[in-house]
C-alpha cells in the first residue's frame, strides 16, 4: 500500500545539499549560482504561484521578486531548514504581495460550484477529471489551495509548510483537512458515489 509510487512528489527529492551549496555561492555574490537556482526553481514556483493568482504578469513578477530577495539575502540562510523551504517561504510572501496587487483567481464559491457541476458520469476521462479538479481547487480559499500544492505537488512536510506560510502547524493541518473535505464532496468522480464519498468535518 505504501509502495515506491507513494514517495515524495516529483521535484522534492532534489539534493538539498546542492541547493545549500548554491545558496552559499549566491551569498558570495556568484551570479552563476543564482542562475542555476533560478532555472531549477522557475517551473515549480510558477506552478505554486499560479494557485494564488491567475495573472501571468503577477506570477512572473513574484518569481523574479523571489530571486531578487534570494540574491540579496542568501547570506541570511541559516541552514536550519531545507533550502527549498527557505526559498518557497520567500515565494509565498512575494505571492501574497502579487495577490494583493493583482487580485485572486476568479471567485468561485464551493456551494455555487457544486450546483454548477455536471451530473456524475462514470465515464469521465482524465481531461474531464482535471477540469473538475481545477474547478474544485478554484472553489477553495487560496491558503487551502496553496497548502495542497505544497503537500501534494512539491512534497513538503506539515512542519515545512508551516515554516513556508509562517503559521502554526495546526493551521496547516486544519487547512489541509478542510480542503480535502471540500474537494471530496465536490469531486464525486474521484471518490465514488456522493453518498459514499460525502464526509463532514465533525
Amino acid at each position: 500500500m505504501f509502495g515506491p509510487e507513494d514517495a515524495r512528489a516529483p521535484g522534492s527529492t532534489r539534493d538539498d545539499s546542492r541547493d545549500r551549496e548554491l545558496l552559499r555561492q549566491v551569498a558570495a555574490g556568484e551570479r552563476r549560482a543564482l542562475e542555476r537556482l533560478y532555472f531549477d526553481y522557475h517551473g515549480r514556483l510558477g506552478q505554486f504561484l499560479s494557485r494564488l493568482t491567475a495573472r501571468r504578469d503577477a506570477i512572473d513578477e513574484a518569481i523574479n521578486d523571489t530571486f531578487w530577495i534570494v540574491w540579496q539575502k542568501a547570506g541570511q540562510f541559516r541552514g536550519d531548514s531545507r533550502a527549498s523551504t527557505w526559498i518557497m517561504g520567500i515565494a509565498w510572501r512575494c505571492g501574497l504581495k502579487a495577490l494583493r496587487r493583482s487580485g485572486p483567481l476568479p471567485p468561485e464559491h464551493g456551494d455555487a460550484l457544486l450546483e454548477a457541476m455536471p451530473s456524475i458520469d462514470t465515464t469521465l476521462d482524465n481531461e474531464e477529471l482535471r477540469e473538475w479538479l481545477d474547478s474544485g481547487l478554484r472553489g477553495l480559499p487560496f491558503e487551502q489551495r496553496a497548502t495542497m500544492e505544497l503537500a501534494y505537488f512539491l512534497g513538503h512536510s506539515c512542519e515545512e509548510i508551516a515554516a513556508i506560510m509562517g503559521c502554526p502547524v495546526n493551521t496547516v493541518k486544519a487547512r489541509m483537512f478542510q480542503a480535502r473535505i471540500k474537494l471530496r464532496n465536490l469531486l464525486p468522480p474521484l471518490g465514488g458515489s456522493p453518498s459514499k464519498a460525502k464526509v463532514q468535518n465533525d
Binding site: M1, R8, L133
Partner: protein
C-alpha cells in the same frame, strides 16, 4: 453522510503526509495497521491517492518563459535596482585581505571627499546602486564614520542602531560594502566617540572606524 470518529479523523489527517512521504515512521505504521482493518479508511486512502495523482498531473498554463524571466532579473541586478520589500546589504567577501584593501581605497576616497568643497555626491555613486537610510538632506552632511555590516543584518536592525547612535547614512554601501555615516541632525560632534563605541558593540558590525579629518572639517 459519514461521521468520522475521532480516531478515524486522526487517521484521515495523516493520509496526505503519509502519501507524500513526510509522516513519521510511527504514524505511518499506525495508519498502515488501521487501513488493513478499516474499509472506510482504505476507501479514503484510495481517494487521496487519486486526488494527489490528479493534482500532480495538473500543470498550470500561463507560466512565463524562464529564459525571458532570467534576462529581466539579470538586468534588474545589473541596474542595482532596489526592491521595496528588502534592502540590499552586500555579502562580505570571505577574504579579509581583500576587504582590508578595499576599505583603505574607500577611506582614501572618503578623505578626499571631506577636504573637497566641490564634492558632488551624485557623480560618485553608480547609477541606481545607491541605497540610503539617510534623511533627505543627509547627502550634504560630512561623513565622520565608516562602517561595514555583517551580511545578516536587516534593514530594521540597521535603522534601530542608527537611531540609538544618533547617526545617519551619508553614502553607501560602496563596492567594499562600506557605509559612510554622519552625526544625525540632533547629535553633536562630541557624540561621535560614543557612537563609535556603540557601533563596535554590535555583533552585526564588522568594522567601524572614524574618518580622519572629519571632526576638524565640521568644526565651526
Amino acid at each position: 453522510m459519514t461521521s468520522l470518529s475521532q480516531f478515524h479523523r486522526r487517521v484521515w489527517e495523516q493520509l496526505p503526509w503519509i502519501l507524500n512521504g513526510t509522516a513519521s515512521q510511527a504514524d505511518t505504521r499506525l495508519v498502515q495497521e488501521h487501513l488493513q482493518q478499516c474499509a472506510q479508511c482504505r476507501e479514503a486512502f484510495t481517494f487521496e491517492q487519486q486526488l494527489r495523482d490528479a493534482l500532480q498531473q495538473q500543470r498550470q498554463s500561463g507560466i512565463g518563459d524562464s529564459e525571458e524571466g532570467w534576462q529581466r532579473l539579470s538586468a534588474r541586478i545589473e541596474r542595482g535596482e532596489s526592491s521595496p520589500s528588502a534592502v540590499r546589504l552586500r555579502p562580505l567577501a570571505t577574504q579579509t585581505r581583500w576587504l582590508a584593501a578595499a576599505v583603505i581605497v574607500e577611506a582614501l576616497a572618503l578623505g578626499a571627499m571631506v577636504t573637497s568643497a566641490s564634492f558632488n555626491h551624485a557623480e560618485r555613486a553608480a547609477p541606481g546602486a545607491y541605497r540610503t537610510l539617510a534623511r533627505p538632506d543627509a547627502a550634504r552632511a560630512t561623513p565622520s564614520i565608516r562602517v561595514v555590516l555583517a551580511p545578516e543584518m536587516t534593514l530594521d536592525q540597521f535603522r534601530v542602531l542608527l537611531n540609538e547612535a544618533h547617526l545617519q547614512v551619508v553614502a553607501g554601501p560602496g563596492e567594499a560594502g562600506v557605509w559612510s555615516l554622519a552625526p544625525a541632525e540632533d547629535a553633536n560632534l562630541a557624540a561621535t566617540d560614543a557612537a563609535l563605541r556603540q557601533l563596535r558593540q554590535s555583533p552585526q558590525v564588522r568594522f567601524a572606524e572614524p574618518i580622519s579629518g572629519a571632526l576638524h572639517a565640521q568644526s565651526p
